[in-house]
Each structure stands twice: as C-alpha cells, then as structure tokens.
Symmetry: C2
Subunit: 299 residues, 2 copies
C-alpha cells in the first residue's frame, strides 16, 4: 500500500477514537472537557498514534485495539503540550496556528485539562471493555511503558533539564541530546513499544527492540528538523512564528551546529534510523517512508 494512504488510515483511526471518546464523556464540567478537546483536536501530525498503530500492525495486533492504545498515547502527548505552553513553563501563545489552551480557557482550566488528559490516558488503557483481544498482562505492560516514558525517567526528566538549560548560555550538544532524548524521544520510543506490546505475541517481542532503536533515531531527526524549521519554515504552514528559538536565546541544533551541519546531522540520523529497519525486510517499509516523510516535512 502507498505510504500516504497508510498514514491516512492510522490518522483517521485515532481521530475517530478521539471523537468517540469525547462524545462518551458525560460530566457537567463542560469547560474542562472543552479545553481537553480543544487541545487534542488541534490536528497535527499525530506521529505518536501513527507509530503505535504501525508497530502494532507489523506485529499482527488487533488494529481496533491498537487505535485505542493510540488514543491513550495522544492524550499523554497533548497533556504535555498544554502544560509545556503554560506561562510558568514556555509561556507560548500559539500552537498549531491557534491560541494555546490557557489563552482560551485560562491557566487554571488549562492546568486541569492537562491533568485530565493524563488521567484519561490511564483510564482508557485500564478499561477492558474498550478492547477486543488484548490481555490484562499486555495492558499492564502498556500502562508501565507509557507511565515510564511520560514520567521523571522520560519526558518530565527532559523538561526539567530543558528548564535548567534555559538559564545558561553554553548548552553543549550532549546536554541538548539528553533533553530531546527524554523530552520528545521517550514518548516517540514509547509509541512503537506500546504498539509492539499490543500484539502480545512473539513477533511483538522480536520487533520491540528494533523499533525502539529506530524510534530513538527518528526522534532525534524529528527534533533537528523542528529546529531547522524554526529558522527556515513558513509561518503560515508552521502555525507559529519562526525565529522564536533565536529570539529567546534558546539553544537548538541549528544554534549549536550551524545550519549546514544541522542539515547534515539530520540526514545522517534519518539514514541511521532507516538502516536499523533492515531485519524487518518489507515490513519496515512504512517506517522507512515515515523517516523520509519527516525529513522533508515543512510543518
């Protein structure tokens, strides 16, 4: 199947799950639900839920179950974006071309909407009635994978070092790599691992380390590209002002390496990610195309 068609299937599957989930929520607190929904329906590439489903599919998992796990993954991603945008953190006004959650709903509701999405992720993963064939054991492993990726050992650990480094001017390449390996990398790796765990079979066990290794390199390439786009991107396509990293004095792969070397590094990481996929043969094709797609993206 064509890469774009496949990507679109995964994207639509998770967006259907998001819609169904918010339709099913029936509580009187409309504003916090609106804030959660506002954040999670802002579009975006849906990279993490796509990775969950792609990994699940090559391992032979039930794809309806995988889409539900992908929904939980996207809840965690959007919880982190809402909290990251808050005034006490990055203090961002725009995300994906729209005002950030706290700009629309206020800081208090945005904080709780983030908290709500994180709790929802685990509520979704632990509700057996949502799944057709996945075992308790596999779901518990997925809860573990996601909570480790999202917690102090993963995403939060990266955010903390990021905050510390904002206060100093001489961030090294090693520090920057540490930040991104955790802040964005941990959840991208968590996505493919959760996908493999959905399958709950030998294939899943066989592929999990390969795809984890791939996702590690893909996550790095993804971040380098983000940093390049902050210099060279089109504001209308990006949905946020360009040059914001430079303006805020933030260290990025471009400021540390320079543009030419950053582009070379991006190419190198993309090639390395693709090379890791070799043992998967034809089954690695979607992931290989995904690495190229992310290399060439303009948003």
């Amino acid at each position: 199947m064509d890469f774009n068609e496949q990507y679109d299937i995964y994207l639509k599957a998770v967006e259907k799950k998001i819609e169904e989930y918010f339709k099913s929520l029936n509580i009187p607190q409309k504003n916090v639900l609106d804030a959660m929904k506002y954040a999670i329906t802002a579009g975006g590439k849906r990279l993490r839920p796509v990775l969950v489903q792609a990994a699940a599919e090559v391992c032979g998992a039930d794809m309806e179950d995988a889409a539900t796990v992908a929904l939980a993954m996207e809840c965690v991603h959007n919880y982190s974006l809402i909290h990251d945008d808050l005034p006490c953190m990055d203090n961002d006004d725009l995300r994906r071309g729209r005002p950030t959650c706290h700009k629309v709903f206020g800081e208090d509701i945005a904080l709780l909407a983030g908290d709500g999405l994180l709790n929802s992720a685990f509520e979704i993963l632990s509700d057996k009635s949502r799944y057709k064939s996945i075992s308790d054991k596999a779901l518990l492993k997925i809860v573990r994978c996601l909570s480790v990726a999202s917690g102090v050992f993963g995403m939060i650990g990266g955010q903390v070092v990021d905050l510390e480094c904002e206060k100093c001017n001489d961030v090294t390449l090693e520090e920057l790599s540490y930040i991104h390996a955790n802040k964005t990398g941990a959840l991208i790796r968590g996505a493919v691992k959760c996908g493999c765990l959905c399958a709950d079979n030998d294939k899943g066990n066989e592929y999990i380390d390969i795809l984890d290794n791939f996702a590690e390199k893909l996550g790095l390439a993804f971040q380098i590209k983000d940093d390049i786009l902050d210099f060279e991107g089109d504001e209308a396509v990006l949905g946020k002002p360009i040059g914001s990293d430079e303006k805020s004095g933030k260290s990025t792969y471009v400021t540390i390496l320079g543009m030419d070397s950053a582009k070379e590094y991006l190419d190198k990481c993309t090639q390395e990610a693709k090379a890791v996929l070799e043992p998967l043969g034809e089954k690695g094709e979607f992931f290989s195309c995904l690495a190229d797609y992310l290399l060439k993206r303009n948003y």
Copy 2:
C-alpha cells in the same frame, strides 16, 4: 488491636514505601525529585493510604502489596495538592506548616513535580516486580479505579466546579456537596476500593460496596470537619492560618449552614458512616474508630 497502634502500623508502612521509592529513583534531575519528595514527605494524616491498607486487611490481601498500592494512592493525593496550591489555582503559600512546593522550588518545577507524582503512581501500579501475589487483572482494575477517581469523573471534576463557584457568591449546599463528593470524596472512596481490589478475592468483592458507601459518608464528614477547623482550629496545630475561607469569601459548610448546624451535620454524617459498617461486624471496628478519630481531630 488498639486503633492508634493499627493506624500507626499503616502509617509507618506507607512512609517506609515512600522512603524506599525515592531512594530507588536514580535520575540526574535532582530538583524535580526533591520537589516531589518535599511534597510527599510533609507528613499529614496519610488518610488515603491508611484506608487502602485497612480495606486490604479486612479482605485478607497481602499487606506488603497493599502498602505499595497505598504508596501509589499517596502519590496521586500529593500531585493534586501541589497543583491545587499553584498560583493559578488556590495560590496557597503554606501547607502543613511549611511553604508550598512552588514557593520553594518555583512554579515550573512544582508543576512538573505534580505531573511526576501522577505518572509515578501509574508506574508503581504497573510494575509487577513490586508485588508478591497480586494478579495482572487486579492491578489493572486498581489502575482503572485510581485513574477514574483522580480524573475528570472524580477529583478534577470537583476542582473545576470549585473554581467556577469561587466566582459566584450564592453557592448552594447541593453545589458544595457536589464539589466535595468529587474533589476530596472520589479519592477517599477510591482508596477503600483499591484496598478491596488488592485482595482480589470473594471477600474483596463482598466488602467493596459497603466500604465505598462508608468512605462516601466519611469523606463528607472529613470535609465538614475541615471547614469547622478553618474557623475554630489552632493555627500552630493546623499548620496554616485559620479564617482563610472566610477571608477569601469561600463558601463552606460553616458559612452555608452556620457553625451549630455544621457540627450537627458532622455528627450525623459520622454516625451514618459508622452505621454502614454493620454487616462487617468486628471487622468494621477500625473503620468505626477512624470515623470517630476524624470527628475529634484538631488538624
């Protein structure tokens, strides 16, 4: 066994788990770990972990496993306290006689410490290596129970209505009851339910509704007592200034009912909570003493 001795055993068991957990965390981000630990080691009554263990014990669960589940419960409780104290929420400077987390570590680290504790709760619940005898099925049910109690259907739902009601002057008794049934009640009920689920047996299934009903009434009594203490308490014992509810124009059981009626209502709820325990016979004794203890507490 004497009630106080029993309470102390549960209290020490969870404090030991807290200490072990933070000793085991080995990441370079010392400040976020310090903030998490600062919040969770501030003492307090440890009511929720005590309830987990007491419910687990009457159902015949492994008590080492129950103490680990109690640790996860206390992580969730402290995540909610850190976020609740933030400037965009209640903007509190003092908690349990000490500066609040964001006063010591800054808002950004406090936000992430709260997030970290919530993720840690699910990481602890999903790590099979921490448990001796509990099944995957039971752990998954506990994850579900805790995430529902803590999320938009529970605690967060109550917080949102609380924020809304702060903006209006004519809060009704019904609205106040709704807020507390969710904001504090949901997690107190979640605690006894998680305790019963630890047992993963017929006794657990038999007792879960009884103890849930008890916890609902206990949670209400707990909140009424809190409101009374805000008027009549001793600042040195409470660890926070008294009269803060009145000063901020906050509606409480005392402002709505008046002090005499609030005290009558407290007595009534405590008696009702104890009456629910009848089917448990002798096994209900600890819970009955707990209701009296909370009625008489001065902090």
